[in-house]
């Protein structure tokens, strides 16, 4: 009986993995295709990768995306960590719970709603200051920082709550001033949370399409938007190459993320 369920379980799992990874493997595989065809494999080559890097639009979009992802995740981590420290310092329990719920709502809200409402807000503010083309890099950055913030707070907060309140006191006791003590002994304890927040933010920002679509202007295109506009025409295999690169990047980040997680968990267990 037990064996049977485990066999079924394994088959289910295999199917799940197949459905999850088949498209990715397909793309990886065909990105090395030597022909123009999207269904016939005509031998191994890296020509699509070469073509990819000759396409001006794509390179610019990639650069934009990276700048945006790095900036927005770093800003989100700084703001989010500061916010977590502030929330954590609140004595009143109900206030803290309230703040946390408010922080979490944007994560639950459908992206399209967030995207449209942000666009409307930006345009509205733009009109107030008599600017017609507000949408561009600054609005995109604001939008990305905004949707990254909850993830940072969510990953830093639990770490912060675990920190023994006596740690900063011990440092002060040994002669360190309070602010310095905080950075010297509390911050190292929450670094895993900060790293997690940073990686999550970067990933979220890197592959965000919907919110970026609404809050960006013609002057600043991100990679997902560039790809989307290309697929409206004809999909060229260099798109496969691009997707493959993106996938590999995200995959590496996820591995790093899991590594960070596993390490901090192992440390907690001891």
């Amino acid at each position: 009986m037990k064996k049977k369920t485990s066999v079924t379980g394994r088959i289910c799992m295999a199917l799940v993995f197949l459905f999850l990874y088949a498209p990715l493997i397909y793309i990886l595989f065909f990105s090395f295709n030597d022909s123009n065809s999207t269904s016939l494999f005509a031998g191994f080559s890296v020509r699509w990768y070469k073509t990819l890097f000759t396409e001006e639009d794509i390179i610019v979009a990639l650069r934009n995306t990276l700048i945006l992802a790095v900036l927005s995740s770093v800003i989100a981590v700084v703001l989010g960590t500061a916010a977590s420290i502030g929330i954590d310092a609140c004595k009143k329990g109900w206030f803290r719970t309230g703040i946390m719920s408010v922080t979490n709502i944007p994560m639950m809200a459908p992206e399209i709603v967030t995207g449209i409402s942000m666009m409307l807000l930006f345009v509205f503010v733009g009109r107030l200051v008599n600017k017609s083309d507000v949408l561009g890099f600054p609005t995109l950055l604001i939008a990305h920082v905004t949707f990254n913030l909850p993830y940072v707070i969510l990953s830093v907060m639990p770490k912060l709550r675990q920190v023994d309140p006596h740690l900063p006191e011990a440092a002060e006791d040994l002669g360190m001033k309070p602010v310095r003590a905080f950075f010297k002994v509390v911050v190292p304890e929450i670094v895993p949370g900060i790293l997690t927040g940073l990686i999550m933010s970067f990933t979220m920002s890197f592959d965000d399409f919907i919110i970026s679509y609404f809050t960006s202007g013609p002057g600043f295109q991100t990679l997902p938007i560039a790809i989307y506009s290309m697929t409206k025409k004809r999909v060229k295999p260099d798109m496969y190459a691009l997707s493959a690169i993106m996938f590999v990047c995200i995959f590496i980040l996820l591995v790093v993320y899991n590594f960070v997680q596993a390490r901090s968990q192992r440390r907690e267990k001891k």
Partner: protein
Amino acid sequence: MEKNVIIDLRNVSKSFDGETILDNINLSIRDGEFVTLLGPSGCGKTTTLRLIGGFLQPDSGDIVFQGKVINDVPPYKRQVNTIFQRYALFSHLNVYENVAFGLRVRKCPEKEIKKTVDEMLEMVNLKGFGKRRTESLSGGQQQRVAIARALAVKPKVLLLDEPLGALDLKLRKDMQTELKKIQQELGITFIYVTHDQEEALSMSDTIVVMDSGKIQQMGRSEDIYNEPKNAFVADFIGESNILDGMMRSDFYVDFSGKRFKCVDKGFAPNEAVDVVVRPEDVDFVPVEEGMLTGEVTLVTFKGVHYETIVDIGGFKWMVQTTDYHPVGSKVGLKIEPDEIHIMPKSEYSGLYGDYSSFSEEFDELSEPEEDEEDE
């Protein structure tokens, strides 16, 4: 006032959320003394320590260090260091860096740091542990690191908040001896907090017994044990039979319906008093010779002695002797005059000292509350 007083609490009061936690505490601690704050959980021991460490400010009264009021001096400027209840080691630093922490803050030269850290690690028997992660150490070893870290900066006073609370019994005993040794070697003042009376008795020069935010009694271990000031102290330190009595005149006291000779004087004639008789000070004698007679209701073998509960006119006495008397047998009790200790009535009168509800479970209460034993 005595000379070489290092820390002085003057009329210190502290309340949290309108609840008085420390009520007008006056406490003088001499330089080089091993002082123990002893009292049940919640009586304000930690609060007192945090006031001295600078982590709390008194609502009223003064904290005086070497003659200077230090109420507003922040912890990082006080020459006082703390061993926190749960060690509070810096887990991102190794053992060496933990011990070196305070020296680095003081910007000591590297050579001097190394010398001091090595010295400290040697003193707490952790030579060669410098490179280890603090998490890889056992509870007892972490405790030693905390001690080395605090002592490395050469404080004038070390505050220890139930430092051995999380260790198992055997290790606790060893650490008690070791701490006492370190204190004597360095000659610095230790202010030690515990709720374990045995620990307090065996380690301290001076014991400060606290309850509900007040100092109940302060003195040498022997004095506190032999001359408790009130029923609370008598009951909290060791075992006591505490009876209602009446001083007839100097050297004569009535209790349990009999008149006894005693060594106390200075009470008003016919003043109501509390009478303390320690269980080990009572002897069994044949019924006809007994000053008091009663029936044995419970006998427990304790290794060195039998602990016998004797019912005398409804009051249950505890007697510790090497004589065995089975449950149900009639016994006589003999008490020498100098074994009777008389205390004035207090708010604690009648609350303690009768063993009628006594059972083995009560012993558990004196065990440490936390059982995170990791060795």
